[in-house]
Symmetry: D2
Subunit: 277 residues, 4 copies
């Protein structure tokens, strides 16, 4: 039987069982739920360690933080760059949490791989094909975010760009699409989680912070993501959202994150899933 | 303090507590979850009763079924009209389930109110202002579906049209919006549930069948809807989807509906909500 | 040869030559350009006659004005209703311009046909199937506006609803679709003019006022509409936009309308089209 | 007076008069219309020279052709790369037409500037900020295409990224946005031309080929673009569209391009604009 499929390595047809990705002993996919938490941007050692310790204590499994920030304006804060990567490594060493960070250009790869455990490709770069190929040559898992107006097929083809270079450890991330509705920053498309998991064997997580742009939506959308079958969530946490250098509006405080974790754990228990500490 | 708000009766500002609507002793809103189930279209007595009994047995709280069908083509099946309403009444009498049906024009109101318990205004008629005003003069609860490209504010203003005529029993329904993504029929916008419940005191339910257009997405999206905080769901159930006169692709069979109910009940238990039988 | 086509009467396949609609001796379609101009809403005799005379003098071919206004809020000005229709008739008698007005409900038809020459179905009612069928039983030409999120096929199917009742005089109107872009009120889709004219024999006009929501875009978008091949335009003109009861932002003043007419005439001359006075 | 504007160098507020960009003695902006024509991808010497000579003969002002191709699939033709750039240089030398080509990564810049006259940043890379900054350090004019779901403000901010590095010669290009409508590949947003020219002093051109995805729409949409006030167009021309390695569906043949040029010239004459040969 001949099957026309535009993506091969990413396709469930050629790889029927779920891919489970191991990151320093922590699994993403299968019956394990990943909870990636941390600030939008790494701002200082004090800021990062405060948040890292707090999310660790509440049961997060990965730490996130931006060192290279893709900002709409060239005049906005662009991130601490390598200094930020070093702080992420420090926070990882102290908390034991593997770290995720975004890179925006091929020349950042060599530096980033020295400090972080998962490389994130942001929504704006989902079809930066040159960057996709370059991270496809690394041995780090790649967290690939869906573009603002990317179709499900385009997201899988972007994963295929990475995988075709040899790196098959790709985690897909639904983070909201751009629609006519302006009440939320983007429109979270949870059906996409179902579509992606049907078409592909790759793990799929959800980012309710960027999707909604509103901190008070993060917990209920996280619950919805787990209920629909996502393999995890990525949420922005900041201890002082009002003074955050970016995305303060959509960041939750550590105590709310603690509540979120309780909710997620309750859901995990009835879904036969586990948050691996 | 002066507050500018374009909607008044629908606004939570003027009505802080959740509205709970009673329909023949069954509550919608508050800590009660409504599960509205049934075929897209009423096709025959046999079809309707088979499905009605099945969904009743699994624990549905309301029966749905279309007698007047809004179809894109004038040459498609347009519904059984009053004959369909009579069958809904019969099914209601036999099962004890209150019934919901869509009407499309003011002149159908007088007939419909004799047979059904909740009147539905469909997505295409969300801004049929004349119809909104007319159903606002009835004493039946109105299930108001969000238009395909209606903003959250427009949906609340449509509710206001109904309420401004005196009928304050409006149930809002998120049923997917039209976006660039074509894998699903529409894009289910669960953030809208959160926005609507923040801005308004009215109950909000979710229709995963029309949102996704795919039967295999109905159960997980229903779970997500409950997890995000919706007051219920409306799902299409058909015992022979392959031969359904409309929407067979998105209808689930009674045994799958039974599974869905189990999932919803498990969720309800951890959310301190109840499906009222 | 068997052709699958969902629309029949509206299809160019079954009716290869362009439909030209005659309204009191003025043609719409073919090589004739229709210029429909007037206020969003009929506000008073003085207002309407001032504008009607001005647009007549500049060469408009039809007068528009709303008597029944579809407003997002029930608390906004809803139009002068039959009194507005009478004023439109008066303005038509004085200027000789045939008049176009929107109706929103079947019960308005009997009244409207006594006063106006073309009945408009607004964007929000494009899939108010009951209304479509009822205007399909009249002998007035119908100006059918594309819904905010209606596909080209859905617009043609809406025309089919009208035509299947016997009224084949339908004028299609592209008036902008709802997209993520918020700088303009809607996004004018001029490609739709080309698609509609390829798929259908019906005349197609463009409404740049509602599409853009900005008065300063009306003239250049009108020119673009004619350049792309539309059979005419519908524009909002008001002598005192700042105090208009609705849509002042997108209305042009009579002197700008005069300029617009000069631009359109220059274009018409190189396109072998004619504005029929 | 204090004005809040997120873009500075791109803003008309700080630079009221239109920017006119000179490329080898040919102007873009002001009263000069640029017509950029050529194949989607450079395929061979024979192919490129055939097309280049044809478009030159019809009056095109610039030659376009892709050497590095951004393709959704990693398995599709990716372009001839430097070999393609050399062929573009050859075609430029023979025809006298300055050439435009897309680059996708910073490391292609040094090579590209040796061969081409204008560097194009494609829609998918509109927010590849690293790439924007790098081309901002070159002395070549940059043709910056609007992203599929980029707002007008985001496009101007992307221009600002380039300009903030010192290169102020940016040409903006509207090439269709992604909407719910699927009849066309994208939805051409001609209102954006008006918005961009109001907000910015930079020249704005239109690409009707990528916008529509249909060769038979290219000529009328080109006319509409000129009528609305664009400073030029970029169109795909191929002598054998059926065997083109990419975008054959939207490419016009040389004889149709000759007709298009006649139409554009007729429009230019009534708009007091000139196509500079």
């Amino acid at each position: 039987m001949r099957v026309q499929t535009p993506y091969k390595r990413a396709s469930r047809f050629f790889h029927p069982s779920d891919t489970v990705i191991d990151v320093k002993g922590k699994a993403i996919g299968g019956n394990k739920l990943a909870v990636i938490a941390g600030p939008c941007a790494v701002e200082s050692e004090d800021q990062l360690l405060t948040i890292a310790k707090a999310v660790k204590q509440s049961g997060a499994t990965f730490l996130r933080g931006g060192a290279y920030k893709p900002r709409t304006s060239p005049y906005s804060f662009q991130g601490l760059k390598e200094e930020g990567l070093k702080l992420l490594k420090l926070a990882s060493d102290i908390t034991g949490l593997p770290v995720v960070t975004e890179i925006m250009a091929p020349q950042q790869i060599d530096t980033a791989v020295q400090y972080v455990d998962i490389i994130q490709i942001g929504a704006r770069n989902m079809q930066n094909f040159d960057l996709l190929k370059e991270v496809g040559k690394t041995d780090k898992p790649i967290l690939l975010k869906r573009g603002l107006s990317a179709t499900i097929e385009e997201l899988l083809m972007a994963a295929e760009y990475i995988m075709s270079e040899g790196n098959e450890e790709v985690i897909l991330c639904e983070r909201g699409i751009r629609t006519f509705e302006t009440y939320t920053r983007n429109t979270l498309d949870l059906s996409a989680v179902l579509a992606l998991k049907k078409l592909s064997h790759l793990p799929v997580i959800v980012d309710p912070s960027h999707a909604s742009g509103k901190w008070w939506m993060v917990e209920p959308l996280s619950k919805a993501a787990i209920a629909v079958g996502a393999d995890g969530i990525a949420v922005e946490v900041h201890h002082e959202p009002a003074s955050a250098l970016s995305d303060g509006e959509q960041s939750i405080k550590p105590d709310r994150f603690a509540n979120l974790m309780k909710s997620i754990k309750a859901l995990a228990s009835i879904e036969n899933k586990e948050i691996q500490e």
